[in-house]
Amino acid sequence: MKSLLRILALLLFAQVVMAQEVNDGNELLNRPAERTYDIILDSGYLKVGVYEDFPPYSYQVDGEPRGIDIELGRRIAEEMGVEFKVHWIIPDENLGDDLRNNVWKGHYLAKQRLADVMLRVPYDKTYAYMQDSTGEYINEQVVLFGPYQQETWQIAYNPEKLDAVETVAVFQYNRIGVEIDTLPDFYLTSAFGGRMREQVRHYTNVADAFEAMRKGEVSAVMGMRSEIDHELAKSENAMFEAAGNGFSGIGKQVWDVGMAIKHTHRQLGYALEAIIDRLVKTGEMNELMASQKLRYSVPGYYREFLDEQSIARAEGDL
C-alpha cells in the first residue's frame, strides 16, 4: 500500500513537473533548440538541469522544487536577469550518459529536450579529457566548468549500537546501509578482501537507509557528506551522529562539483563562470549551503590559487 501511495505521489508530481518544464525543441525536425547566450537572454528564461528526487541537491516538496542546486540555479538566473526554469534529469548509468541525454544530444525518446546548463557535474580535468580507444575525446561535446562545491564521503551511525566509528573495520561485525550501485556500495562490498561484504545492506536511496537505521536494521549509513548532513538535520534522526573515520582504499576521497554546457555555448559558460566565481569567493555559496544545514568546502580548484584568508572567507570562517 505504501508503495502504491508513493507511485500515486510520483504521478501527481509528474503532472506538476510538466507544468514547470519547457520543451522548446523543434518538433518538426525532432531536435533540441540551439539556445545560445543571446537566445537565452531574449527568451527570458534559463533551463537548469538538475537530478530528480535527489535530496539535498534537487528534489520536490509538494510539487515545489527544493534543494541546494535549485537555490543555486535560481541565484544564477536572477543574476542573469532571466526566469529560472527547472529541467529534471533522470540519472542514467553514468555521467557520460547524463551529459549526452541532457546537455548536447538529447535522449532518443525525447530528442527535443535539453537543459541550457546542467548542475552537479563533477569538475575533473582527467575526466574532461578522457580519450577512447581510437584517441577521440569522449566528452568533446561538452564543456565542464564552474566548480562550486567540494563533495566527500561520510558515515552516520547510531551511538546506541556503536561506541564510535574509528575505522570502517567495525563493519566487519555491524550492519551498514548504502544506496545501491554507488561507490559506498562497491567500496564496502569489496574493500579489505570483501571482509565487510556480509554486513552491507542495500537501499534505494540514503533516506531509505536512514529509515532502516531508525528501525534498527543497520547501525550506520554511508553516503555523500551533504546527503548525510541533510538526514542528520531531520528531527527524527537526532539520535544519530556523524562519524569522523577515514576511508582508506577509496581512490577518490574528495571531488569538485561544477556545471556543464554544450561546447558550442561557451559564451553562456563565461557568463555563468563569472557568477559562480563571485558566489564562491564572497561566501554566498557557503551561506546557501548553511541555510540548508549543510557543511561547505571550497572546491580544490580554488585552493590552488586563493590564499588562506580568502578560503576562510569563502567557507564562512571569517
Binding site: N94, E151, D181, L183, E198, R201, V257
Partner: protein
C-alpha cells in the same frame, strides 16, 4: 484516420474489416500445433518449441529466385529505429509490432492497414535496452504484446481496442518488456527486461481472458514464488530453496537475472524454457559464488511456475554473458533411440545440447572461432573451465591507474545475441546467426555517477577479423561440426528461419533479406529492403501461394556502441517497414 483517447488510429478499410470479421478465435490447440499449420503463424518461434521451421516446400532451392515483393508497409512517424519484430498471421491478417511499443493489424493480401495501436509511454521513461519490440501473441479474440513501460496490453484482434492492460513491473524501477509474450494453456507468459542493478528477474503468467495474475516466479535464488487463486496470494516455494547459498550477504535481493528475451514451450515435457540475464552488480568480484539463477536456462512448470530444473551456462559471470538466448526443443536419433534434446547458442560462445526432460548436459562445443574466457567445458557437467587471467579485474582494487586490460572473446554482445536461430527437421542442422568480435575491458581511472565519484569498467568492442563480423553457421548438434558458413561484413542481428524447401532465410544490417541453400550455404536470393534487417522472417501459405515476410529497420543494440564496430555500421540508415514477398503460383511448377 482519426485518433481517439486511447491513442489508436483506425483506418477503416471495408475489405479489411470483412476479412477479420470472418475470423476464428485462436485456441490452445492452434498454438500448440502452430508448426504444423502453415496457413497461419500464431506463436513467436513459428511453433512453441521455437524451431522456426516451416513444412512448406512450394518455395524451394529451385525457384527461390522468382520470389517477388507483394507489398510493403510503413510503420510511419519519425520512429525509425530497431525493427526486431516477428509478424504473426491469422485468417489473412498480419499482426506486427514495431519499435516504441506499437502494433499494427495489416491485410496480409494487400498490405492495407486495418488498425494501429500506439502504447502511450510515460514522459521521461528511460528504458534500459533500446526501444525495440520483438512481437506479439494471439489468443481467442485478442492480440497481446508487452510495452517499454513494462505492461502487457491485450487488444481486440479485429478492432485494436484495448481489452485489458496489466502492469507487469514498475518502469521507474528500471523494468521494461521488449520480448514477445506467449500463450500456453490459456495463460499469457512473459518475462521482464531490466537495467543493470537493483532489479530481480521473474517469469509471470496472466489469465489470457482477464489479465489476472496467475503465478509469479522470481529467477534469483531466495525469492518466494506465488500462485494466485480466488484472489488469494499463496506461497509456492522459494526459488532455489533458500537465500544466500550462491550469493554473499544479501546481494541476492538485487541479483539481476532478467528474463528479457521471453521463452519457448515444449508440449512433450510440458515445460516452459526461459533464459536469464547476467547477475548484478556487473563486477563479479563483489559476489563470489555461482549467483543462481543468473546466466541460466530454467525449465518452468506452466501450471504454477515451479522450477523443474536449471542449467547455468556462465556461473559467477564477469563478462556480461546473459543466458537469455532461446532454448529450442528438438529430437534426434542415436543408437536407435530418440533423444529428447534442447539446444541453445549462448552469448558466451558455447553451443549446448541438453536433455530437455531433466536439464542434464549432453554435449557442448564452441560455435564461434575463438573463446578466450574459458578453455572448454567439463565433459560431464558442462561447467566452463575458466582461463587463468581471463576474468576482468576488480575496479575496487585499483589505485588511480587504468588497471590491467583484459581481452575477452566473444564480446559482451555475445557469440550470438537475441536473434533467434532455426532448426531444420530436414537437415538436422541448427542455423546460427553469430558474430566474431572481442572486447577490451579495463577499470576506468575516473568515473562519475549522479554527481558522485564512482568505480566503473570501460570496454570497447573490436571485430575479430578485418573483413567480416557476422557469420551465419550451419551447426550439427550431434557432432559440433560447422557444416557451412556465410560471412557478412556487418554484425548479424536478425533472426533466422528455415523451410522444408531446403532454404534458410535471414536478414543483414546492410539491408538484404537473403535465402541460402540449407545444405550448402550457397546464397540463392537477396532483396534490398532499404534499411537494415534486424527482424525475424516468417513464411506461410495463403490462396495457394507461399509468402515470406520480414520487418526492416536498422537499430537495436549494435549502433548504440562505438569503437571499431561503429565504423562498419555508421552509414546504415534507420527505417520502419514490413516487406512481404510471394512466389507466384505459376512458378511453383518450375522445379
Amino acid at each position: 484516420m482519426r485518433t481517439n483517447k486511447f491513442g489508436i488510429r483506425i483506418a477503416a478499410s471495408a475489405l479489411a474489416m470483412a476479412v477479420s470479421y470472418g475470423a476464428h478465435a485462436v485456441t490452445d490447440e492452434d498454438i500448440i500445433n502452430d508448426h504444423k499449420t502453415p496457413e497461419d503463424i500464431v506463436s513467436y518461434g513459428m511453433g512453441t518449441q521455437g524451431q522456426r521451421y516451416s513444412i512448406l516446400e512450394d518455395l524451394n532451392t529451385n525457384n527461390v529466385q522468382y520470389l517477388q515483393p507483394a507489398w510493403a508497409f510503413s510503420f510511419g512517424s519519425e520512429k525509425m529505429r530497431g525493427q526486431e519484430s516477428q509478424p504473426l498471421i491469422k485468417d489473412g491478417v498480419m499482426y506486427v509490432t514495431a519499435s516504441y511499443s506499437r502494433i499494427y493489424a495489416v491485410d496480409a493480401r494487400t498490405g492495407e492497414e486495418i488498425w494501429q495501436y500506439d502504447a502511450r509511454l510515460p514522459d521521461g521513461i528511460m528504458p534500459c535496452c533500446d526501444v525495440v519490440n520483438r512481437g506479439a501473441a494471439i489468443y481467442g479474440d485478442k492480440v497481446i504484446f508487452g510495452t517499454l513501460d513494462a505492461k502487457l496490453v491485450a487488444l481486440n484482434k479485429d478492432t485494436g481496442k484495448p481489452m485489458w492492460i496489466k502492469k507487469v513491473a514498475d518502469y521507474q524501477a528500471g523494468y521494461a518488456i521488449t520480448a514477445a509474450p506467449m500463450v500456453i494453456k490459456g495463460k499469457v507468459i512473459t518475462g521482464v527486461s531490466g537495467g543493470e542493478f537493483g532489479i530481480v528477474g521473474k517469469v509471470e503468467a496472466y489469465d489470457a481472458n482477464t489479465g489476472d495474475l496467475v503465478w509469479t516466479r522470481p529467477t534469483v535464488e531466495g525469492h518466494m514464488g506465488y500462485v494466485y487463486k480466488d484472489g488469494k496470494k499463496i506461497e509456492n516455494g522459494i526459488s532455489g530453496g533458500k537465500a544466500g547459498v550462491t550469493w554473499p550477504g544479501e546481494m541476492w535481493k538485487n541479483g539481476g537475472a532478467a528474463t528479457w528475451l521471453g521463452g519457448t514451450y515444449d508440449p512433450d515435457t510440458d515445460s516452459l524454457f526461459f533464459g536469464t540475464g547476467n547477475p548484478a552488480p556487473w563486477n563479479s568480484h563483489l559476489r563470489p559464488g555461482d549467483n543462481l539463477f543468473s546466466s541460466s536456462r530454467l525449465a518452468i512448470d506452466p501450471d504454477d511456475g515451479s522450477i523443474k530444473w536449471h542449467f547455468q551456462t556462465t556461473p559467477n559471470d564477469g563478462w556480461d554473458y546473459d543466458g537469455v538466448n532461446e532454448l529450442i526443443s528438438f529430437n534426434y536419433e542415436e543408437n536407435g533411440k530418440t533423444v529428447k534434446a534442447a539446444a541453445t547458442a549462448d552469448r558466451n560462445g558455447f553451443f549446448y545440447v541438453l536433455n530437455r526432460e531433466n536439464g542434464d548436459f549432453i554435449r557442448g562445443f564452441p560455435f564461434v572461432d575463438k573463446i578466450t574466457w574459458a578453455e572448454g567445458l567439463d565433459p560431464k557437467t558442462g561447467r566452463p573451465i575458466y582461463t587463468e587471467g581471463g576474468r576482468p579485474g576488480n575496479p575496487a582494487d585499483m589505485e588511480g591507474g587504468k588497471g590491467e586490460m583484459v581481452l575477452a572473446q566473444p564480446a559482451f554482445l555475445g557469440g550470438k545475441n537475441w536473434m533467434p536461430m532455426a532448426f531444420s527437421q530436414q537437415t538436422g542442422l541448427f542455423y546460427v546467426p553469430s558474430n566474431e568480435w572481442s572486447m577490451d575491458i579495463w577499470n576506468e581511472p575516473v568515473s562519475y555517477k549522479k554527481g558522485a565519484a564512482f568505480l566503473g569498467a570501460g570496454f570497447t568492442i573490436k571485430p575479430a577479423n578485418d573483413d567480416y563480423i557476422g557469420v551465419l553457421r550451419a551447426m550439427d548438434p550431434k557432432t559440433g561440426e560447422e557444416v557451412w558458413r556465410y560471412e557478412n561484413t556487418a554484425p548479424l542481428w536478425g533472426g533466422v528461419m528455415t523451410t522444408a524447401g531446403g532454404l534458410v532465410f535471414t536478414g543483414t544490417p546492410e539491408g538484404h533479406l537473403k535465402a541460402f541453400d540449407a545444405k550448402t550455404g550457397e546464397e540463392l536470393y537477396r532483396f534490398n529492403t532499404g534499411s537494415g534487417v534486424v527482424g525475424t522472417p516468417i513464411t506461410w501459405t495463403m490462396d495457394g501461394e507461399q509468402y515470406v515476410s520480414v520487418a526492416s529497420g536498422w537499430g537495436g543494440a549494435v549502433p548504440l556502441w562505438g569503437g571499431e564496430v561503429a565504423k562498419v555500421v555508421k552509414d546504415f540508415n534507420q527505417g520502419g517497414m514490413v516487406w512481404t514477398f510471394k512466389l507466384p503460383k505459376d512458378r511453383v511448377a518450375s522445379n
